[in-house]
Symmetry: C2
Subunit: 154 residues, 2 copies
C-alpha cells in the first residue's frame, strides 16, 4: 500500500518542469543532477511518462524533455498510473479469478474496497501540478522568497 520510488521521483520531475517556462526543454542530465535522481534510472522512468503522454521527448543535440500538457491538466493520479499502471488497491479488482470463491459482486469487502478506491482516485484527481506550484509559491512569499524550483517530495 505504498507508492514506489520511481513514482516519487516522477512527482519531483513533473513539478520541476512545471515550474519552468511553458514548453521549456530540459535534458535528462539536467534533471538528474537537479533532482538528485540516478541518471539511468531516471531515463527509464521518463519513458513511462512520455508513453503516458505527460511528457514529450526531443532527440538530438539540445534535446530533452518537456511537459506535453498544461500543469493544471496533470494530476497526481496521472503520474502514479503512468509509472505504476492502473490503480487498484486490491487484486480482486484486477483479476476476478484471483478470488478463490468468485463471489465478486456478492462480496461485501469487495464492495467496500471499491468504495474506498473510488474516493481515493477522486482525491488524487483533485491535485494537479498547477495547484501544487501555487502552494509552493505561497510558501516562498511567506518564508524566504528563495526560489524553490527544485522540490522534493520528502
Amino acid at each position: 500500500m505504498q507508492l514506489t520510488q520511481a513514482t516519487d521521483y516522477s512527482f519531483r520531475v513533473v513539478l520541476y518542469l512545471a515550474a519552468l517556462d511553458p514548453g521549456a526543454i530540459v535534458s535528462a542530465k539536467d534533471i538528474s543532477t537537479h533532482e538528485n535522481v540516478p541518471m539511468r534510472f531516471l531515463l527509464k522512468t521518463l519513458r513511462s511518462l512520455v508513453k503516458a503522454g505527460i511528457l514529450r521527448s526531443y532527440r538530438g543535440p539540445d534535446g530533452g524533455y518537456a511537459l506535453a500538457k498544461q500543469p493544471e491538466n496533470i494530476t497526481l493520479r496521472d503520474v502514479i498510473e503512468a509509472v505504476e499502471g492502473p490503480l487498484y488497491i486490491n487484486r480482486c479488482f484486477i483479476d476476478e479469478d484471483y478470488c478463490s470463491k468468485h463471489w465478486t459482486s456478492a462480496c461485501p469487502v469487495h464492495r467496500a474496497l471499491g468504495d474506498v478506491q473510488r474516493k481515493l482516485v477522486q482525491e488524487l484527481d483533485k491535485h494537479n501540478f498547477a495547484d501544487l506550484l501555487a502552494h509552493n509559491r505561497q510558501d516562498q512569499g511567506k518564508n524566504s522568497g528563495r526560489l524553490l524550483v527544485s522540490v522534493s517530495t520528502g
Copy 2:
C-alpha cells in the same frame, strides 16, 4: 499501491468470525478449509491479528481463535494496519531522511499526499465489519436466502 494477499485473507477471516455467534471459538484448521487459505500461512497471519488485539487465541484442545472486539469496532483500516503496519502511501511519511532534499514541510507534493492519505484513512475507518455483514445479509434476502457465511473478497 496495493494491499497484500495476507490482508485480503484477513478480511475474509474477520468477516467469517464476525458472522458467527459472538465469542465463538474456531480452530485455525477450520478457518483454513472454510476460507481456502493455506494453513501455515494463515497461522502466521492470524498472529498479527492477535497481536493487534483484533482476535484472541486459545490454546489446547478445542482451542482456536475468536474476535476480541465487537464487529462494529473493527474497521478495514484496523485489519490493514494489523497485517501491514501503519498506513503510509509514501516513504517520506515514514522516514523524513528518505527524501534527499529534506524539505518535507515546504514540499507541496508531500502536503498533497498527506491530504490524500488522511482522506484514505478516514474512508477506511468508515467501514466496520458489522456494516459489512449487514450488507451481506441484505444481499441474501434479495437473492436467494442462502447462507453466505463463507465470504470472499474477490
